[in-house]
């Protein structure tokens, strides 16, 4: 084997060419990693929303809570089964909520977008034990107070602790607290009192959805069968985790398709860049290659030597690209979720797997790009090569 120092030395000797090729691959890997991180961020945000032991009930045929509505009276029927967990007070742990959206002005642009407002009953924290207030306090039940998800905080005008949000003329809610829920999609919502939303949005006597905390995740099938078997209700039950997974599908798909198309074009470009660099590198080293061959190194050694060099080049680029993409960890990305028509905030979410995939992708780009030049070097006849310039 030809020692690796030969390769590192040779990359260092051609600083400009090496730097441009490294930068090219770094940019490609950056974009690749960023799109993977964004897809992961979407999945994390919506995937973390919901619990497997919670059943969500919406009107049959509605795709989402926002378009669903049914009689408030049915909530009692939904929650009365034995598979629904009961609180210390003996009441079922379940909620009937109203979901609406309001148009608000985005901070830092003249754009507007829809923010999801959830009308929640008093026992919301009992049903969602993972939700914690991080600043301020809980809203007093039955008042025009609201709590704000920490991800959406500050991204819209008036969405800040102590500010008021106007729901309709002469009816505002005051934000008295900020809540977190482990990075879930709920953090992109404003939670108001259910009756406030009901009167402000003319939803008397109805709810958008109901949620039931089940005795265990396995009680789900029983719950689903019971609620759906009553055809008069016309309701549909989904596991909360699955519901949110479905909500993320179209958006995650959109980013993934776009990211893949872009990554294909980009990696083709980067491979061409690596190929040009390696061809030049081989061409200027004909004599060296001839000498190595004369010293007894096999064609295979030459081939692998140049492949290693090319992979090394690409890996350096990949490392820079990954580092760059990690810097995106602090960037918040917010856009409309197609499934809910409301703004949802994501972060770029790095995982070891994504970084691994990106590094492997960069090594592959190097190997593919370097293969033909390496082959050319390996096939050189030693005599010709030593004679040549």
């Amino acid at each position: 084997m030809i020692p690796i120092e030969y390769n590192t030395g040779s990359l260092a000797a051609r600083k400009t060419t090496t730097a441009t090729a490294v930068l090219g691959i770094a940019l490609v890997v950056f974009v690749l990693a960023a799109s993977l991180m964004l897809t992961e961020g979407i999945k994390q945000t919506l995937g973390k929303t919901g619990r497997p032991d919670v059943g969500i009930v919406i009107r049959q045929g509605s795709d989402a809570e926002l378009s669903s509505n049914f009689d408030l009276a049915n909530v009692g029927l939904i929650l009365e089964g034995s598979e629904v967990k009961r609180g210390p007070d003996g009441n079922p742990l379940g909620v009937g909520e109203i979901i609406v959206v309001a148009l608000m002005k985005k901070v830092g642009s003249d754009g507007v977008s829809n923010v999801q407002l959830r009308g929640v009953p008093d026992n919301v924290y009992a049903v969602r034990p993972d939700v914690h207030i991080t600043e301020g306090r809980k809203a007093k039940p039955g008042t025009d107070e609201a709590v704000l998800g920490q991800k959406i905080r500050g991204r819209f005008d008036t969405l800040e602790l102590g500010q008021s949000v106007e729901l309709k003329k002469g009816r505002s809610v005051k934000i008295v607290g900020i809540f977190e829920d482990g990075g879930s999609g709920f953090e992109s919502e404003v939670w108001c009192d259910v009756d406030t939303i009901r009167t402000a949005f003319g939803r008397e006597g109805i709810v958008s959805s109901a949620r039931a905390q089940l005795t265990s995740a396995s009680a789900y099938d029983q719950f689903k069968t019971r609620v759906e078997s009553d055809k008069r209700l016309g309701l549909e039950v989904q596991r909360e985790t699955e519901y949110y997974e479905k909500q993320s599908q179209s958006l995650a798909m959109f980013v993934r398709v776009l990211g893949t198309i872009v990554a294909i074009f980009f990696s083709a470009g980067a491979m061409i860049g690596a190929m040009i660099t390696m061809y030049a590198s081989v061409a200027s080293r004909h004599r060296e290659v001839g000498t190595l061959r004369a010293l007894g190194f096999s064609r295979f050694s030459i081939l692998s030597c140049f492949l290693i060099e090319s992979a090394l080049l690409a890996l350096i680029g990949g490392a820079f690209g990954c580092l760059g993409s990690l810097a995106l960890g602090t960037v918040k990305f917010s856009m409309m979720n197609f499934a809910t028509w409301s703004e949802i905030v994501f972060t770029f979410h790095p995982t070891p797997k994504i970084l691994g995939v990106s590094m492997i992708a960069s090594a592959v780009m190097g190997l593919v790009g370097g293969f033909l030049p390496a082959l050319q070097a390996a096939l050189l006849s030693p005599i010709e090569a030593m004679r040549g310039e």
Partner: protein
């Protein structure tokens, strides 16, 4: 032979490298055109809309509607020529559950007068007005779902319970890029009748056209002022601002696409600059000889810049040549057929083509500047000594 000829000939000396570079530039330009087309297809909708149409919605949220009497009040305004209204229905064909399209309950009498860029035949329009269960379906949607005029179809809705039966009495053709060619339109009365009492006589939004001599902006304001003291307040915008504010909700994606476009151009410059720089390094001796026989530094620099320019022109040309069939015939058709509600028009515009070509050449020239400067500063004696 002039300098340009020499430059072009230089590219033939390392054919493989030139070919690779041209391929790199071509791929970058292809990707750039594709990304631009996505952005343009998205924004085209706002640049191509009628600007004498005003959309009036609920001020706070699209989930709430307006009292129907507002339509008459808007119609009574002197600035308004004609007004109509519609409600979002959220229809689905139970046989094609995942196929999303826009189904609207509209006023059959006035809708097509206000939307005169949706063209239907007088006979079909007459049939639509006479049949209470009648529906007019966009040509694209008809084709996509395999329906025929004269057929009876059953839809369900994400919002309203039950089955809804309609007779397809006609189709319409979208005359503008911004018009969705795949909507489903039916009588508003059908929807209103089946609503619970408390939710009757509500309209989703009102669309008004302003008369000659009135401005859309002033009229929008006049409408909102009119309802300012009412219980339900409105937000009116001309169609362009309406579309733009909708696009604004996706601005993060558009920003990301623009950044990515810039990155691909950066990669292209790196590839091109690298090739030119390598050429300059290899030909240092020749340049020294050229200088020694009387060529000026600027001649040498021009030689380098010309070389890059040729690479840019050829690469850009090849990229565009690939982009046209790929986008306009392949992908674009598929997208227009299947995603017409997001992208009713997905094709390379002439401006995009021209801009991409200009960028290919412009960036090629920029990329050639550092090597050109090096060539310009060439120290003749040194360079000659090095090869001696």
């Amino acid at each position: 032979m002039n300098l340009g000829g020499v430059a072009a000939n230089n590219l033939r000396r390392n054919k493989l490298r030139s070919a690779l570079t041209i391929a790199g530039v071509a791929i970058a330009i292809l990707a750039f055109v594709l990304l631009r087309t996505i952005v343009e297809a998205w924004t085209a909708q706002s640049s191509d809309v009628a600007n004498d149409r005003i959309v009036t919605r609920h001020k706070v949220t699209f989930v709430l509607s307006l009292p129907k009497r507002y339509v008459d009040e808007v119609r009574g305004m002197k600035e308004v020529k004609i007004a109509t209204w519609a409600n979002w229905f959220g229809g689905k064909d139970p046989n094609h559950d995942t196929d999303f399209f826009q189904a609207l309950a509209c006023d059959e009498k006035t809708f097509f007068e206000v939307y005169d860029d949706m063209r239907t035949t007088p006979e079909q329009l007459k049939a639509f007005k006479e049949d209470r269960q009648g529906a007019i379906v966009g040509e694209k949607l008809l084709k996509r779902l395999g329906w025929k005029v004269g057929e009876t179809v059953t839809l369900t809705s994400q919002i309203f319970p039950g089955n809804w039966e309609f007779h397809i009495v006609g189709t319409y053709e979208a005359l503008k890029k911004a018009v969705d060619p795949a909507s489903f339109l039916f009588h508003w009365d059908m929807l209103n009748e089946r609503m619970p009492k408390a939710f009757q006589d509500q309209v989703g939004w009102i669309v008004a056209r302003v008369g000659v001599g009135s401005s859309a902006v002033d009229t929008s304001k006049a409408i909102d002022d009119k309802f300012e003291s009412s219980d339900v307040q409105t937000k009116s915008q001309d169609e362009r601002s309406f579309q733009q504010s909708f696009l604004g909700m996706f601005s993060a994606i558009l920003t990301a696409l623009n950044i990515v476009s810039a990155v691909i151009l950066g990669i292209m410059m790196l590839i091109l600059g690298n090739t030119v720089a390598m050429g300059v390094r290899e030909r240092t001796g020749e340049y020294a000889v050229l200088r020694a026989i009387g060529f000026l530094p600027r001649h040498i620099a021009l030689l380098v810049i010309f070389e890059a320019g040729v690479l840019g022109i050829v690469g850009g040309g090849v990229g565009l040549g690939l982009a046209y069939p790929f986008i306009n015939l392949g992908m674009g058709r598929f997208i227009e057929e299947n995603f017409s509600n997001f992208f009713p028009f997905f094709r390379i515009t002439p401006e995009s083509g021209a801009i991409s070509m200009a960028i290919a050449v412009g960036l090629a020239l920029c990329a050639s500047l550092p090597p050109a400067v090096n060539a310009y500063r060439l120290h003749v004696v040194e360079a000659l000594r090095r090869i001696a």
